[in-house]
C-alpha cells in the first residue's frame, strides 16, 4: 500500500498542471490515469496506421502563464487564420472591413485584458473571503477603461455575438469568423444570449491559436516530465472515512492512501460515482446532476495521401461563411438533426510537425459544429455529419475525397463515451456557469464538503481548453488552505 501527500485523478492538462504546481511546492504527488497514456483532451492518438493526431484539441489559445513559466513549451509561430478565404492575424484582417475589424479587435482585447486576471485568481466569492488587494487592482483596471468604455463593456458583456457582428462589421466572412470563434465548443449559436463573453474569454487567453512544436503530444510530454503517473489505472471510488477523503480504491481492488485526493475528473463523476450518495448531502448530489455539460463540437480526422491544395497549409482555416451560417448550423442540432452545412475549423498538424504522418502524407484535423448532442440514431447521425462536412470541405479543397485514406468522425456521444465523461464538457462554459458558479456554487474554491477532496477539472473556474488554469488554481487553493 503506497502513501503520498496528494493523489491526482486524471492526467489531463489540468491534472498535470495541478500536479506540477503541487510538486513544485514540495508535495509528493501521484497521478492516476485510466487511459494508456497521459494527456486527456490533448492526447494524440493513432487514428490510422502511421497517422497521428490530437483526438480532441488540436491547438491551444495559450497555456496559463503561471504554468508556462514553470513548464516552458516551445510553440510554433502564431497561427494565421484563413477565414472563408480572408487572411486574419489577430487584429489584422483583409477585405473591406480591415479598419472595422481592427477597431473591434482592439476594443474587445482591451476588455478581455481587464477580465483576464479574474481567470487566474480564485473564483470570486460573493460571501467574502476574497483577495481584497487583487480585487481593488482589478477594479481599478476596470475604472481605468474610462466611463464610456466601461459603459460599453457593460453593454456588451452579456450580449449575443451575432448582434455585435451585425453592428460592427459589414463583411459576412469576418462576421462568420467572429460568430464561429465565439461559439466554438459551446452549446449555443451566435444568436444565443451571452455569447460575446465567450469570445472575450477566448481573447483573454490570446489572440491566436498556438500549436506546440512537436504537436500536442510534446505539450503533454513536457507537462508530464518528472511526475509519477500511473496509467491504465482506473479509480473505482474515493475512500471516505469519517467524512474525510483518505485515498482511492482502484477497480482492481487496490487501495492507495493519501492526505488529499484531487480529482481532475468530471465533477459529476467525482461526486456521484466516486464519492457516492452515502457521503454527500442530497442537495449537492442533486446539483451535481444539474451541471450543464453539453457541447456540439464534432471532431473529424482525415488521413490524406498528400498535401491538399491550399494557399496556406500551415494556417488555421475557418469555414463559416457568415454569422447566419453559424446560426443555421446550430439550429438543427438543437432538435437532434444534422446541419446541412456545418461550419468548421481545420488545421494540418502534419504540416507543422511532419512526424505525425508518413512521409508525404498528411493529417487534417477539423472541429465541426454543430453536431446533434444525443441523436436518436448515432450511427446515422455520424455518417450524415461526415458526409455533410466533407461536402463543405470539398468546396474549399477540390478533389479532397480522392486523397482520403481514412476518415474518422467523432460526434459528441462518441467523445463522451471515449473519454468516460457524462457529457461533452466538464462544464459548459456559459455565463451562468462561470466564476463562483463553476462547477457549482459552494465548490468554486475547489474544496468539497468531503475534507481532503479537491476538484481540479476543467469544470472548475476558469474552464478548459488546454490551458491548465483550473488545475493550477486548484493547487493554489489547496496550498493556501494548507498554510
Amino acid at each position: 500500500m503506497a502513501f503520498c501527500d496528494a493523489i491526482i485523478l486524471g492526467a489531463g492538462v489540468n491534472g498535470l498542471a495541478c500536479a506540477r504546481r503541487l510538486q513544485q511546492a514540495g508535495l509528493s504527488v501521484l497521478v492516476l490515469e485510466a487511459a494508456s497514456e497521459p494527456g486527456g483532451g490533448a492526447r494524440v492518438v493513432e487514428f490510422h496506421p502511421g497517422f497521428r493526431a490530437p483526438a480532441l484539441a488540436h491547438a491551444t489559445m495559450g497555456l496559463d502563464p503561471r504554468l508556462a513559466r514553470l513548464v516552458p513549451v516551445a510553440l510554433h509561430p502564431p497561427m494565421v487564420t484563413i477565414a472563408n478565404g480572408l487572411r486574419v492575424v489577430a487584429g489584422q484582417a483583409e477585405g473591406p472591413d480591415t479598419v472595422a475589424w481592427s477597431r473591434l479587435h482592439t476594443r474587445l482585447t482591451r476588455f478581455a485584458h481587464v477580465l483576464a486576471p479574474f481567470r487566474r485568481m480564485a473564483a470570486l466569492n460573493p460571501g467574502g473571503g476574497n483577495d481584497r488587494l487583487a480585487l481593488v487592482r482589478r477594479g481599478l483596471a476596470l475604472k481605468l477603461l474610462g466611463r464610456g468604455e466601461l459603459r460599453e463593456l457593460m453593454r456588451l458583456i452579456l450580449i449575443n455575438v451575432h448582434d455585435v457582428a451585425e453592428d460592427e462589421l459589414t463583411d459576412d466572412r469576418l462576421r462568420g469568423l467572429l460568430a464561429f470563434d465565439a461559439t466554438l465548443g459551446a452549446w449555443a449559436g451566435p444568436r444565443s444570449p451571452n455569447t460575446l463573453i465567450l469570445y472575450l474569454d477566448r481573447l483573454a487567453r490570446g489572440p491566436f491559436p498556438l500549436v506546440p512544436v512537436g504537436g500536442m503530444g510534446a505539450l503533454v510530454a513536457a507537462l508530464s516530465t518528472g511526475l509519477s503517473i500511473r496509467c491504465n489505472t482506473r479509480v473505482a471510488r474515493v475512500l471516505v472515512e469519517g467524512e474525510r477523503a483518505v485515498g482511492v480504491a482502484l477497480d482492481n481492488g487496490e487501495e492507495i492512501r493519501a492526505t488529499r485526493v484531487i480529482s481532475a475528473l468530471n465533477t459529476r463523476t467525482t461526486l456521484q460515482d466516486l464519492v457516492g450518495a452515502r457521503h454527500l448531502d442530497t442537495g449537492l448530489y442533486r446539483r451535481a446532476g444539474h451541471i450543464r455539460m453539453r457541447g456540439g463540437a464534432a471532431r473529424l480526422l482525415l488521413a490524406l495521401r498528400g498535401l491538399p491544395d491550399l494557399d496556406n497549409p500551415a494556417a488555421r482555416h475557418v469555414l463559416a461563411p457568415s454569422s447566419r451560417a453559424v446560426d443555421s448550423a446550430f439550429d438543427p442540432a438543437k432538435y437532434g438533426q444534422v446541419p446541412q452545412h456545418p461550419v468548421l475549423e481545420f488545421i494540418l498538424p502534419s504540416v507543422l510537425d511532419p512526424a505525425l504522418a508518413p512521409p508525404g502524407a498528411h493529417v487534417l484535423s477539423a472541429t465541426v459544429q454543430f453536431a446533434p448532442h444525443s441523436p436518436r440514431d448515432p450511427d446515422a447521425a455520424r455518417a450524415q455529419m461526415l458526409e455533410n462536412t466533407l461536402k463543405v470541405l470539398e468546396v474549399h479543397i477540390p478533389g479532397l475525397r480522392a486523397e482520403i485514406l481514412h476518415a474518422r468522425m467523432l460526434i459528441p456521444s462518441d467523445i463522451y463515451t471515449l473519454y468516460g465523461l457524462p457529457d461533452w464538457h466538464h462544464g459548459e462554459l456559459a455565463v451562468e456557469q462561470m466564476l463562483f458558479n463553476r462547477p457549482l456554487y459552494g465548490l468554486h474554491r475547489h474544496a468539497t464538503p468531503i475534507e481532503g477532496l479537491w476538484l481540479a477539472s476543467a469544470g472548475c473556474h476558469p474552464g478548459g481548453g488546454i490551458e491548465g488554469a483550473a488545475g493550477w488554481n486548484a493547487a493554489e487553493a489547496l496550498l493556501e488552505a494548507r498554510q
Binding site: 467524512e243 456521484q272 457516492g276 450518495a277 452515502r278 454527500l280 442530497t282 442537495g283 446532476g289
Partner: protein
Amino acid sequence: MTPFRHYETPLMPTPLHTRTAPLNRLNRWGNWAGCMTPLCFGDVDMEYTAIRNAATLYDLCAMVKYRIIGNEAADFLNRLTLRNAAKLAVGAVHYTAWCDDDGKLLDDGTLFRKGLQDFLLCCQERHLPWLLDSAKGFEVSIVEVSNQVAALSLQGPCSASVLSAAGFDVWGLKPFRMGDFPFQGGTLTLSRTGFTGDLGYELWFAPDQALALWDHLMEAGAPWGLRPIGSDALNLARIEAGFLIPNMDFIPAHQALREDRTRSPLEMGLDWLIDWDKGHFTGRRALVAERARGSDWAFVGLDIPGNVSAEGSILYHNQKREVGMITAAAWSPALKASIALAQVRARHARGANLWVEIYALRELQYAKLMLPVRVVERPFFNPPRRRATPPARV
C-alpha cells in the same frame, strides 16, 4: 385527452367527507394539503374537553404519506432523516425530522416500520422530489400513498376502551408501537401514536373501509361520548403537548423565501433526534459546524401571566430589544395558564428579563400589554396515562 376538471374542486374531499360534512354544523373547513378538512364541528371547547376527558375522532386522511420499500430502505432513511432508522424495531414508530444541506429543517414526521424493508413516512408537507433525489444510489422505491392510505385519529383517555368495545384489543399496545387488526373481512393498522400528548391511537386503512370504520367506531364509542373534532381543538391540545407544526412553528427550508427564516433542528429543540454516530446524513456537516459554533435561535415554551392569548406576539429583552416571536399560544384549559411556543434568540433561551408585548384587540382598539414571561419545560401537559400500558379501563 383526459379532461382536467380539478378546478371544480379546489379542495379535495377526504374519504370520510360524507360522514364529516353533515356533522359539521358550522361548516368550518380548512385546507390541509389540498384536502377539505373540518376545523370545528360545532364547539371548540367541547371538542377540546373531549380530547382530555373522553374520546375523539379526527380525520387524518390528508396526511402526506410515503411508502418506502427496498433492501436499503433503512440506509436511505438514515441518509434522509436525523434519527437512526436502522434502530427502529419492526412494528414500531418514531418521530423524526429531516434537513437540507444547510442543516435547516424541511419537515418533521412519523416513521412507521412495517417490515425490515418496509416503512411508511407520514408528514405534513410534500417532499417527493427531495425523497427521490435522496434515494439515488440506494436500492429503494418510494411511492406517495397519501390517497391510498386513509387514516383516523382516536384520542383521549377513553380511546382504548372505545377501541376495545369496537373489537380491537389494544390493551397490550405500548406507545409508539403498532399492530394489524382484522376489520370486516380486511385488516387495518392501529398505532399508539397521536398529536394530542394524551392516550390515543391512529388507525390506518384503505379508503374503501373509511365509512364503515367511522360508523363502527362512532357506534362503539357512543357510551364514552366519542365526538368528532376539528383542527382548532387539536391545535389547542398539541400546544399543550408542545408539538411542532411546519409552517406555523418553523418555515420549511424549501418554502422559505427569506434566507434567515430557516431553522435547524438544534434551533427547534430537536437535537435529541440526531444520531451523530450513525454515519452521514443530509445536513450533518452543517449541523456539526452549528453545534461547534452555537445556534442563533432556540425554541422554548413560555408561561405568560394573565389569560390573554399571545399568538403572534413579539418577545423583548428588557422591554426594549426584539429577541423573538411567539409561534403558537393559547389559554390552556388543562393547566389553567396562558402558554406559548416561541422562537427566541439563543442567548435569551433561559428567559431572563424576557417580555412579551401583546396587542389585544378590544372593540377596534388595541390594549397593549407588556408582560414578563417565564421559560418553562415542554411539554406543558404530559399526563402519565399517555404512557401507561395497559391503559386504564374507563
